[in-house]
């Protein structure tokens, strides 16, 4: 099956094994610019592996991943790192903010890795903190803010480089429903306003309900729910 035309990031027939376990066994995926796709599935089904492959963190054993017409599998580690720095953004469940850096420094970090000057990076970081309604935390350290606030800072950090694809791996996993939904609202609003595609790995239906489309991964195989109905 060829990826649908106009897709920004597409994967075909991905296989990946970790030792004896098959994490991915012929998974497929595609996403258009500005689209929010939820990746669901039971624990250990391979949804995180799929996300890691799509983001170029992990190289699949076989299969192809094309981003914007480029094949990820043939890129070097440094090229993929550079791609992640400039085109992708990431939000994880927890443990992603550098505890020593203040919130604004954390948000500025991806820009600084791209070579932006400190001042400029922190100015941009501050506007993103404002958009996520946590600009009052700018000078605090992650250890001093609540989980929901920290996650908003993480979203700000993921979006500060204006990525074209935002990867979110259980972004609300550690939050209560109210905080989780607020984070999801802010995340999807912000992503839509920058026309970023969002790959949202979650096991919560109410979080997945913020997506446009849903893909279920079972035993390493993906299923696009849109095509069933």
């Amino acid at each position: 099956m060829t990826p649908p035309p106009g897709s920004l990031l597409a994967a075909e027939d991905l296989h990946k094994t970790y030792g004896p376990t098959k994490a991915l066994d012929g998974a497929e995926f595609s996403i258009h610019p500005g689209e929010v796709v939820a990746v669901m599935g039971p624990s250990g089904s391979g949804k995180s592996t799929l996300l890691h492959c799509l983001a170029g963190i992990v190289v699949p054993d076989s299969g192809s991943i094309t981003y914007d017409g480029r094949e990820l599998a043939t890129m070097s580690d440094a090229q993929r790192s550079a791609l992640r720095r400039s085109e992708f953004g990431f939000v994880f469940q927890f443990g992603q903010l550098v505890p020593e850096l203040t919130c604004v420094e954390n948000v500025a970090l991806p820009l600084r890795l791209n070579g932006t000057s400190r001042k400029e990076a922190e100015r941009a970081a501050l506007t993103w903190l404002e958009r996520l309604e946590v600009d009052d935390l700018a000078k605090k350290r992650p250890g001093e803010v609540s989980g929901g606030q920290g996650q908003r800072v993480a979203v700000a950090r993921a979006l500060v480089t204006r990525p074209r694809v935002l990867f979110a791996d259980e972004p609300t996993g550690a939050l209560d429903s109210l905080n989780g939904e607020r984070v999801m609202e802010l995340l999807t609003d912000a992503a839509r306003s920058t026309n970023a595609a969002v790959v949202l790995v979650t096991h919560e239906a109410r979080v997945a309900a913020y997506s446009d489309r849903e893909i279920v991964v079972r035993d390493g195989r993906s299923r696009d729910m849109e095509r069933i109905v």
């Binding site: 039971p42 609202e185 919560e204 239906a205 109410r206 997945a208 309900a209 913020y210 997506s211 446009d212 849903e214 279920v216 079972r218 299923r223 729910m225 849109e226 069933i228 109905v229």
Partner: protein, 177 residues
């Protein structure tokens, strides 16, 4: 004219071969009846409706007469009707399980793809949830609270769907026994 949930179930049960009315009742009670066994009257009235719609035909009548002595067989139209019924997701609403459960078991009994049924239902549920979520985002507090109530119920259904999907193999074994 709708033949109802029980009608489709009995129709599905006939797919494996012609049965007498009382056989059908016993099979239904065994697989789906649990706490609510069917009355003979229900079987009789349902079967006569199915007959009227051409979904079943009388295969033969045993000596002694009486409705329970008739043997029914499914028609081509009946099989198509079961197909359609199974493939159509139920409207997401609370307390759906009994219908969904019946559908899954019937699919397993008739060697159809039960996972498909679950996934279809899942997609339908999520679509409803998306709509509710969207309404919630645009609405006022009252809207939000009402939508949340529905969302939590749908989420429970969805969890059940997931759980059932994960246990399909076990269910297949149990049904085959």
């Amino acid at each position: 004219m709708s033949i109802g949930h029980i009608g489709h179930t009995l129709l599905g049960l006939l797919e494996s071969g012609p049965r007498h009315g009382y056989d059908l009742k016993r099979a239904f009670d065994e697989k789906f009846g649990h706490d609510r066994p069917l009355h003979y009257g229900q079987v009789y009235s349902t079967m006569s409706r199915l007959l009227k719609n051409g979904l079943v035909e009388v295969d033969g009548i045993e000596a002694g007469g009486g409705p329970e002595r008739k043997r029914y067989a499914i028609t081509e139209a009946g099989i198509t009707d079961v197909d359609q019924w199974l493939a159509t997701p139920e409207k997401p609403e609370p307390y759906l399980q009994s219908t969904l459960y019946t559908k899954v078991v019937l699919a397993l009994l008739t060697h159809r793809d039960a996972a498909d049924i679950l996934d279809t239902q899942r997609a339908e549920h999520l679509r409803s949830m998306r709509i509710l979520t969207d309404r919630k985002r645009k609405g006022d507090l009252a809207d939000q609270l009402i939508c949340d109530h529905a969302l939590f119920h749908l989420e429970a259904d969805l969890r059940w769907l997931e759980l059932t999907a994960a246990r399909l193999d076990k269910l297949r074994e149990a049904v085959a026994r």
